[in-house]
C-alpha cells in the first residue's frame, strides 16, 4: 500500500514503474464504441489495469450485479440510457465505487450534474491515456 502511494506521488512516474509495481486494478469501462473499448482493454492491460467493457448502460448494470470493480469509467453520451441515469443507478448499487465520466466537448453542464450526483471527476473526450490513468489512480487511491 505504502509502496504504491510512494510511486504515485512521484511526479512523472514512468509507465513501466506503474506496470510493475502497482496492484492490479479492476476497471469497468462503459462506452458504446466497441472499437474504443477493445483498444482500451488492450492498452490498460499493459498498464496492469484489467478492463471489463460494457457497450451500454444496461450491460453495465448487469455486469455490476455480478462483479466488483475498483473504479468505473462512464461515457455520458450513449444511445440507450442517458449517461447521468446510468451514473445514478451505479451510485445506488455500489456507492463506494468511484466513477470517472467522459464527456464530449461543450457538455460540461452534464458533467457538473454528474459531479453533483457523486461522480469522482470528469474528462473531456478525446483525452490522453496518461491523464485517464492518473485520474483512475487518484480515484482508486482515495477509495482505498
Amino acid at each position: 500500500m505504502n509502496k504504491k502511494q510512494n510511486i504515485l506521488t512521484v511526479k512523472d512516474a514512468g509507465k513501466s514503474e506503474i506496470e510493475n509495481e502497482q496492484e492490479r486494478i479492476e476497471l469497468l469501462l462503459v462506452d458504446d464504441e466497441s472499437g474504443f473499448v477493445d483498444v482500451m482493454i488492450k492498452r490498460m492491460a499493459k498498464r496492469n489495469i484489467h478492463v471489463t467493457g460494457a457497450l451500454s448502460g444496461t450491460e453495465a448494470v448487469q455486469i455490476l450485479r455480478k462483479n466488483d470493480f475498483d473504479a468505473a469509467v462512464l461515457d455520458l453520451k450513449m444511445e440507450d440510457i442517458n449517461g447521468i441515469e446510468v451514473l445514478k443507478i451505479m451510485k445506488k448499487m455500489v456507492p463506494m465505487m468511484p466513477v470517472i465520466m467522459l464527456t464530449g466537448h461543450g457538455s460540461e453542464d452534464a458533467a457538473k450534474e454528474g459531479l453533483e450526483c457523486g461522480a469522482f471527476d470528469y474528462l473531456t473526450k478525446p483525452y490522453d491515456l496518461e491523464t485517464l490513468i492518473k485520474t483512475i489512480m487518484k480515484a482508486v487511491r482515495q477509495r482505498r
Binding site: 464504441e33 472499437g35 474504443f36 483498444v39 482500451m40 488492450k42 492498452r43 499493459k46 464530449g104 466537448h105 461543450g106 457538455s107 460540461e108 453542464d109 457538473k112 473526450k125 478525446p126 483525452y127 491515456l129
Partner: protein, 569 residues
C-alpha cells in the same frame, strides 16, 4: 469592389440626371417663361415707343423742311407779285432785293435771276457771272413754264455746285417771265443733317429718281435698302416705318415721309441695335440673370440630389445588409448544426484511432520489435498520427464552441479593462508586425454581464485577424468603445488591405478562410459570431479594399435572458 463603386456612381448619376430634368422643368422653365413674356412685352412697348418717337421726329422735320421751302417760295412769289418785270429787269434793283432777302434770312438765298419766256436770263444778281445765261433746256425752266411754282431738285447746273432753284412764273400782257432764286445747298443740308439720334441715326432726302437731295452722313447706296420701295409706296400715312436686314449695315430701321407734295422723300435711318439699345441692354441683363439663376438652381439641385442620393443609397445599403444578415443567420444555423454534428461524430473515431496508434506504440516497446530496423520510422509515424489526432480534436472543439453553449461563467465584465488587457496581450505580436494599436475608450461604461473568457476570445480573435491582415505592410488598429442606448459598441478598425465583397458575405461561415491550408481553420469568426449571438449581441463588418476593415460588436447591457439552451443544438 471597384465594379461596385462604378455601379454606385453610375446609379447616382442616373438619379441626379433624372431629377435635374425635373428641376429644369419646374424651376428654370418658369424663370425663362416669365422673363421671356416680360421681355416680349417690354420689347413690344419699347418698339412702339421708339417708332412713335422716330415718327414724330421725322414728321416734325418734314414740316420744318416743307415750311422752309414754302417760305422761300413765298418770298420769291411776294417779290414777283409786287414788282414788275421791268423793275426786276434792272440788275441794281434786283441786287437790292437780294440784299434785303439775305438780310432777312441770312445767306440762304444765293442769287436772284429774271428769265424771259425764251429762257434767257435778262437780269441777274449774285456772286456768279452768269450774265445772259440761257435756261430754255433746264428742267426747272420747263417745269416753270407748265406750273406757276417750281422747287427744283438739287443739281450742279452751270456753276458746277450742288444747288436748287426756287422759281415763280408771272405773265405780263400775255408774255411769260420767271423769277428764280438759288437756295444755298449748305443751309438746306444743315436742316436735314441736324436730325441726329444715337450713334447711327441720320437723315437725308431723295428725289423721285432716288438721287440724293442732301448729302447723307454715312455711305448709303440708294439701290440697296428699301428706299425705292419707300419712294414707290402710295401709303396715305404721313410717316412710313420699315425695318429691313441689309448685308452691309445689318438690321436697320427706316422712317420716311414725303416732302414737297410727294416730290422728295425724307428718310431717317438708324441701326436697329442702336435705336433699341435700351431693349438690347435689358435683354442682355435678363439673359445673364436667367443664366446665373439657372446655374444656381441646377448647382443647388445637384448638391441637394447628391446628398439625397447618398442618403438613399445608404439606406438601401443598410437594408441590403440587414437582408444579408437575416439570410446569414439562417444559413449559419444550418451550417452550424451540421458542423457540430460532424464534429461530435468525428470525436469517437478519432479517439479510437489515437488509442490504436497508442496501442501500437505500446507493442513496439516489446523486445521483438525493438530490434526492427524501421523502429524509428514506426515511432515517427505514430507520433504523427497522434499529432494529427490532436489537431482534429482542436478543430472539433472549435466547431462545437461555435455551435454550442459552452459552460462559461457569466460574470460582470468591464469591457475597457478587458480591452486594455488584450492590447497588452497582443502588444508583442503587433510590434513584430509593425502595427500600432490605439484605443479611444469611453470612460464610465457600465459593466456588462458576460463570460470573461468568451469576450476575450472574440476581441482577441478580431485583433489577431487584423494583425494577420497587416502582417506584411504594417498599419494601425483603432479600438473604440462607446455607449449606444442599451448597447456597448466596440469597434475594431484596421487600415489593412480590406476584404473583397465576395468574401465579406461568407466571412462568418464556418470553415470559410482565405488563409493558406493548414494556417487557419476558418472557425475564428464563426465562433465570435456564435458567442455574440449567445450574448444577445451582434457582430458586423464593413470593409473597403485598400482602405481597411471595421468590425463592430454590439454587447447588450442587460443580461441576455435567453433560454439556457444551446444556440443551435
Amino acid at each position: 469592389m471597384y465594379n461596385g463603386e462604378k455601379r454606385r456612381s453610375s446609379y447616382l448619376m442616373l438619379f441626379i440626371k433624372n431629377r435635374i430634368g425635373t428641376v429644369l422643368i419646374f424651376s428654370v422653365m418658369p424663370l425663362i417663361l416669365v422673363s421671356g413674356i416680360i421681355l416680349y412685352q417690354f420689347k413690344a412697348s419699347h418698339y412702339e415707343k421708339i417708332h412713335a418717337h422716330l415718327g414724330t421726329l421725322v414728321k416734325k422735320h418734314k414740316q420744318n423742311i416743307d415750311s422752309f421751302l414754302n417760305e422761300k417760295l413765298g418770298d420769291i412769289h411776294f417779290i414777283a407779285e409786287i414788282y414788275s418785270f421791268h423793275e426786276l429787269g434792272n440788275e441794281t434793283f434786283l441786287k437790292e432785293k437780294l440784299e434785303t432777302l439775305q438780310q432777312a434770312y441770312g445767306p440762304v438765298f444765293v442769287d436772284l435771276g429774271v428769265v424771259n419766256s425764251h429762257g434767257v436770263q435778262v437780269a441777274y444778281a449774285g456772286p456768279f457771272k452768269l450774265g445772259k445765261a440761257v435756261y430754255s433746256d433746264a428742267d426747272w425752266f420747263k417745269e416753270a413754264m407748265k406750273r406757276e411754282y417750281v422747287i427744283s431738285d438739287v443739281f450742279l447746273g452751270l456753276r458746277g455746285l450742288p444747288h436748287f432753284i426756287v422759281a415763280v412764273r408771272k405773265s405780263v400782257n400775255g408774255d411769260q417771265w420767271v423769277l428764280r432764286a438759288t437756295i444755298d445747298f449748305a443751309a438746306f443740308n444743315d436742316l436735314v443733317e441736324n436730325i441726329r439720334i444715337g450713334e447711327t441715326g441720320f437723315a437725308f432726302i431723295l428725289n423721285k429718281e432716288g438721287d440724293f437731295q442732301t448729302k447723307p452722313l454715312m455711305d448709303v447706296i440708294p439701290e440697296k435698302g428699301p428706299y425705292m420701295d419707300l419712294l414707290e409706296s402710295d401709303t396715305k400715312e404721313e410717316v412710313q416705318i420699315v425695318e429691313k436686314e441689309d448685308e452691309l449695315s445689318g438690321n436697320n430701321i427706316y422712317v420716311s415721309a414725303f416732302l414737297k407734295n410727294g416730290d422728295w422723300l425724307l428718310v431717317y435711318q438708324q441701326k436697329a441695335s442702336d435705336a433699341f439699345s435700351a431693349f438690347t441692354k435689358a435683354l442682355r441683363v435678363s439673359v445673364i440673370i436667367i443664366i446665373l439663376g439657372s446655374i444656381g438652381t441646377i448647382a443647388l439641385a445637384f448638391v441637394r440630389f447628391k446628398n439625397m442620393a447618398h442618403h438613399m443609397e445608404k439606406a438601401e445599403h443598410e437594408r441590403r445588409l440587414m437582408n444579408e444578415q437575416i439570410i446569414e443567420t439562417g444559413k449559419l444555423a444550418v451550417v452550424g448544426e451540421l458542423a457540430a454534428g460532424v464534429a461530435h461524430e468525428i470525436n469517437n473515431p478519432v479517439a479510437i484511432m489515437v488509442e490504436e496508434a497508442g496501442w501500437i506504440e505500446d507493442l513496439l516497446e516489446e523486445e521483438e520489435f525493438k530490434e526492427s530496423e524501421n523502429i524509428a520510422e514506426f515511432r515517427r509515424a505514430l507520433k504523427q498520427i497522434n499529432t494529427q489526432g490532436k489537431r482534429c480534436k482542436e478543430i472539433t472543439q472549435k466547431l462545437l464552441s461555435f455551435a454550442r453553449k459552452t459552460d462559461s461563467k457569466i460574470q460582470e465584465v468591464q469591457i475597457n479593462e478587458l480591452i486594455e488587457e488584450i492590447i497588452t496581450l497582443s502588444a508583442q505580436r503587433a510590434k513584430f508586425s509593425n502595427v500600432t494599436i490605439g484605443c479611444q475608450l469611453q470612460d464610465g461604461l457600465p459593466v456588462i454581464q458576460g463570460a470573461h473568457t468568451e469576450l476575450q476570445q472574440v476581441l482577441l480573435n478580431l485583433i489577431n485577424n487584423a494583425l494577420d491582415a497587416m502582417e506584411k505592410g504594417g498599419g494601425t488598429i483603432d479600438i473604440k468603445t462607446r455607449l449606444n442606448k442599451d448597447h456597448i459598441v466596440v469597434e475594431i478598425a484596421d487600415n489593412g488591405p480590406g476584404i473583397a465583397s465576395a468574401n465579406l458575405k461568407r466571412i462568418f461561415e464556418p470553415f470559410f478562410t482565405t488563409k493558406p491550408v493548414g494556417k487557419g481553420t476558418g472557425l475564428g469568426l464563426s465562433i465570435c459570431y456564435g458567442i455574440m449571438k449567445r450574448l444577445g449581441g451582434d457582430i458586423e463588418v464593413q470593409s473597403v479594399i485598400d482602405k481597411g476593415t471595421i468590425f463592430r460588436i454590439n454587447i447588450p447591457l442587460k443580461k441576455y435572458i435567453g433560454e439556457k439552451q444551446d444556440l443551435i443544438m
